[in-house]
């Protein structure tokens, strides 16, 4: 499939890297020759130098016969015009990154579709949605529902006083059968655990389970499920605005901003929000505003460094949950290891969203989710599939994949060594990158 990516910012680059590993024909068009030549020298992509709304440049980069046109420059207007031009030149599907969340409404998106823009992605909206979801689950880092909501995947960072810490997976299996440990992330490395692996401190563990077991999982991970009562936000940027617009009324929201003018403007736009004109780095201010009182702290300022530090401090002085926005992709991985509950990144979320859209509709792949270096696949077992011939224990699966669960007749269930896959089952498989072929062989 031919994919043209317009733009050479972090989102475009990240997307190009992900897609080039998928064996797609990727062309990246941008204006920064240095960034493009670096990309060209290391990835399976062609780069082309040109302005995003130049018809000549778009033609030269192959917009007329591309299957997918993705405009992800930092400028909303350019993306919209560029996508329209792409469609006009002959691109089959167009996607544009936009700033204004209003465009996502059904009427507006119909209008834009008639103009030639098939899909729109709003990074601020994605971040705000991610934040709102994670506010609902205090101790989880992420929660995904798959297989029509019959199975859940959630990631938890292990810390004291969890009763399962330092126990092996086999011992964990004796305690409970309600959960399947699909993946462990340790020091940036992904491990598909076997029975002998054990849980270490600061591991990020991905569990699969049936809906309804969340509370029990919280107990096992040593997390008390306290409800969040208030939310403190630092910064008054676009993401803060979007979050304030989306956040449910049951939270008391406070926004701390050192700039008086910005405070006044923000207070005008969101009358129900308490705006505090103070320096959010001042610990006394945080205490005064009740950070210890079941409070979530959202560091959404412009500076990634300040966000990281203030979220860490807030956690230290007693915030129930901390979320930091980190825009520098370089140290995004490193920040994950710090004591911050959730780290969000606009660009990564945007590129993952577009990638997800591709997986759903365009790529010939059974994938339903994609984490950084792990794919979650949902595949239907056939009569002839090798996987149906033995119990899971005897299949001798390689150590870079695991069967996390399945749905049989619309009913979700977990899988252990004694389970046997039957034809017609929808099987959920976790596989590290590069093992897709092995998985396909099992289901052939």
């Amino acid at each position: 499939m031919k994919i043209l990516i317009v733009g050479n910012g972090d989102t475009a680059i990240h997307l190009a890297k992900m897609l080039s590993q998928e064996n797609q024909d990727v062309v990246v068009m941008g204006i920064d020759s240095h960034v493009l030549s670096e990309l060209d020298a290391h990835y399976n992509v062609i780069t082309s130098l040109g302005k995003d709304i130049s018809i000549e440049a778009l033609k030269r980069s192959g917009a007329s016969d591309c299957d997918l046109f993705i405009a992800v420059t930092p400028y909303e207007n350019h993306n919209i015009v560029s996508s329209q031009l792409g469609k006009w030149l002959g691109a089959k599907t167009t996607i544009a990154r936009i700033d204004n969340p209003e465009f996502l409404s059904p009427e507006a998106s119909n209008h834009f579709r008639s103009l030639g823009i098939d899909r729109m992605v709003n990074p601020e909206y994605l971040v705000a949605r991610e934040i709102c979801i994670s506010l609902g689950n205090v101790w989880m880092r992420s929660l995904h529902k798959i297989a029509k909501g019959e199975l859940c995947i959630c990631s938890v960072k292990l810390s004291e006083p969890s009763p399962i810490l330092f126990k092996s997976i086999a011992e964990f299996g004796q305690i409970t059968q309600e959960f399947h440990v699909a993946l462990i992330k340790r020091n940036g490395e992904s491990i598909i655990p076997g029975g002998s692996h054990s849980f270490e401190r600061n591991d990020i563990v991905y569990f699969t389970f049936r809906p309804g077991s969340e509370k029990r999982l919280g107990e096992l991970c040593g997390k008390t499920n306290r409800e969040i009562k208030r939310v403190i936000i630092t910064g008054t940027g676009k993401i803060a605005e979007t979050v304030c617009g989306m956040i449910p009324d049951l939270y008391g929201v406070k926004v701390i901003e050192p700039d008086r003018e910005k405070c006044l403007r923000f207070a005008d736009s969101f009358p129900s929000v308490t705006v505090v004109n103070a320096d959010f780095r001042d610990i006394n201010v945080q205490r005064e505003e009740g950070i210890r009182d079941n409070c979530a702290f959202l560091a959404l300022g412009d500076s990634s460094e300040t966000n990281i530090v203030s979220a860490t401090v807030a956690k230290h002085i007693g915030a129930l949950k901390t979320i930091a926005q980190v825009e520098d992709t370089q140290y995004f991985d490193e920040v994950q290891a710090l004591d911050i509950d959730t780290v969000v990144n606009k660009k990564l979320l945007t590129s993952s969203r577009i990638y997800q859209f591709l997986i759903d509709s365009v790529l010939d792949s059974p994938r339903c989710l994609a984490f950084e270096d792990t794919d979650v696949l949902e595949i239907v077992a056939q009569d002839s599939s090798m996987i149906t011939r033995h119990n899971v224990r005897d299949l001798k699966l390689s150590s870079d994949m695991t069967i996390a669960g399945l749905t049989r007749g619309g009913h979700g269930m977990l899988v252990n060594g004694d389970s046997r896959i039957e034809p017609g089952d929808h099987v959920v498989v976790f596989s590290l990158h590069g093992t897709l072929r092995k998985v396909e062989r099992l289901f052939r």
Partner: protein, 485 residues
């Protein structure tokens, strides 16, 4: 992050193993030919192929579970290492044949083959068996486009960043254009164009009265701009203007950027005329041919063959670094000789199979020269070097300058070493320039073959050929201490 960790020798060895297996398979071509012909050299090829296959299988089997993903540093080690390793194994048939060569001679001959230099130590090639001659042509054909490029086309696992860094290290030129987003497709397309040109040339030569065997060998060494011939007298041995003209055209084709050629084959003829490098290439060939024709005319030569075909052939042979000879240019006087030396240093288009500095680099330097003159008059003007849709920034210019410096220094060192053994100035400079530019033409003492040179000079020239083919930096990084830490 990954580039900072230790070199993963197991991965390098595994890929090197694959390459050796490939070489072993390539050796079976002359082996089968020799068996078919009933010559005696099949033993040499059988033993060589078995040794090579055996040595290739060991690392592949030992590291069979190892990934082949490699990073930049490992890529450089692999690329330089593999050219040397290929030559070490490729020389086995020469050492084991009926008329065995010494270690120095065999290595010189093989690396001269793989780097498409075409300088030979064999004084009398017609005495060699036909299997050996076929092997000489085959290694030039493979080396022309690149050994590793062949592997990228075959091995799907190299279709990643490792393969791309190998591609960039092996293809000549300042920047590297991909034909397709995926590196493997690019490699396959390049080999396709290369193969088609070679196949087209064979019947054309046969029309001129050349035998099938000679046509195949000559085509492989022409398109790869290598220059090994099956006759002592090179192309002159056939004494046909037609053959000389056909060879000239295909040498010039081999000197073109293959990406451009691929696009031209796919219907973009206009891109060819709009390409500044290609037009300059044509103009250089035509103007120097005209100059030599005038020189020869004033010296009293007559006839189309002497005035047009011979100069064109010799110019094409020199600029594309092929190194075939059609007439004794040593008798033409000093002006044509100096022109030929200049063309050997200049080389043809980047992204081709030729050696030398390449026209692209010279055009960038000339563009820069113009800018410097403008800068002297108008210090505040922003001037840039830009042609064929590419703009060259300061760091490109600095890199080209560094390249030229090393090029000239190495060339001089080779000439100095040769003159230390008592050879005269012209012979030394000519031979050193010929090896550095992967041309393989000889003059004076090296006129008929390089066989008479002392071993030290042969090893020096072998190094020059490798530096010239891999465009210096890929090899020089290995001599930098921090590369190994």
């Amino acid at each position: 992050m990954n580039e900072l960790c230790n070199l993963r020798y197991s991965r390098i060895l595994k890929i090197a193993g694959f390459l050796l297996i490939l070489e072993g398979v390539l050796m079976t071509v002359p082996l089968i030919f020799s068996l078919f012909e009933g010559g005696n050299d099949w033993k040499a090829f059988l033993v060589s192929a078995l040794i090579t296959l055996f040595c290739g299988c060991i690392p592949v089997l030992i590291f069979r579970f190892e990934e082949t993903r490699i990073y930049r540093r490992e890529g450089y080690l692999l690329i330089s290492g593999i050219w040397i390793l290929f030559s070490l194994f490729g020389m086995l048939p020469f050492m084991l044949s009926e008329a065995p060569l010494s270690l120095t001679d065999a290595f010189f001959e093989t690396i001269s083959g793989f780097t498409t230099t075409g300088a030979t130590v064999m004084g009398d090639v017609e005495q060699e068996s036909r299997a050996i001659l076929l092997w000489r042509s085959e290694i030039q054909w493979i080396g022309g486009l690149g050994i590793v490029l062949f592997l990228i086309a075959i091995l799907p696992t190299l279709n990643d960043s490792g393969g791309i860094s190998l591609f960039n290290a092996e293809i000549t030129g300042i920047t590297h254009d991909k034909l397709h987003p995926r590196i493997r497709q690019t490699a396959l397309s390049l080999w396709g164009v290369y193969g088609i040109i070679t196949l087209t040339m064979i019947p054309l030569l046969m029309l001129g009265g050349m035998s099938l065997f000679d046509s195949v060998c000559q085509s492989m060494t022409t398109v790869s701009t290598g220059g090994f011939s099956t006759r002592n007298g090179s192309i002159a041995a056939w004494g046909s203007s037609y053959i000389a003209a056909v060879t000239s055209v295909f040498m010039l084709l081999g000197g073109m950027n293959f990406t451009l050629l691929y696009n031209a084959v796919h219907g973009e003829w206009k891109a060819l005329i709009r390409n500044h490098v290609f037009v300059s290439y044509l103009l250089i060939v035509l103007s120097t041919t005209a100059i030599i024709s005038v020189c020869l005319y004033t010296a009293g030569e007559t006839g189309g063959d002497h005035l047009i075909v011979a100069p064109l052939f010799q110019i094409a042979s020199a600029i594309t670094s092929t190194g075939f000879t059609y007439s004794d240019f040593a008798l033409w006087g000093s002006l044509p000789l100096i022109l030929i030396i200049m063309l050997m240093v200049c080389g043809a288009c980047a992204g081709s199979t030729t050696g030398g500095v390449k026209i692209d680099r010279i055009m960038v330097m000339l563009g820069n020269l113009k800018n410097e003159i403008v800068h002297t008059l108008f210090p505040n003007h922003i001037e840039r070097v830009s042609f064929d849709g590419k703009t060259f920034r300061e760091n490109d210019l600095v890199r080209i300058l560094a390249f030229l410096t090393v090029y000239i220094l190495t060339l001089s060192a080779g000439a100095l070493l040769m003159s230390a053994y008592g050879y005269n100035l012209t012979d030394s400079i000519f031979s050193s320039a010929s090896c550095m530019g992967n041309t393989g033409l000889g003059y004076g003492a090296t006129g008929s073959s390089y066989g008479a040179l002392p071993s030290t000079v042969k090893w020096m020239f072998s190094l020059e050929m490798l530096l010239g083919r891999l465009e210096i930096f890929s090899v020089l990084v290995l001599f930098y201490r921090r590369f190994w830490k």
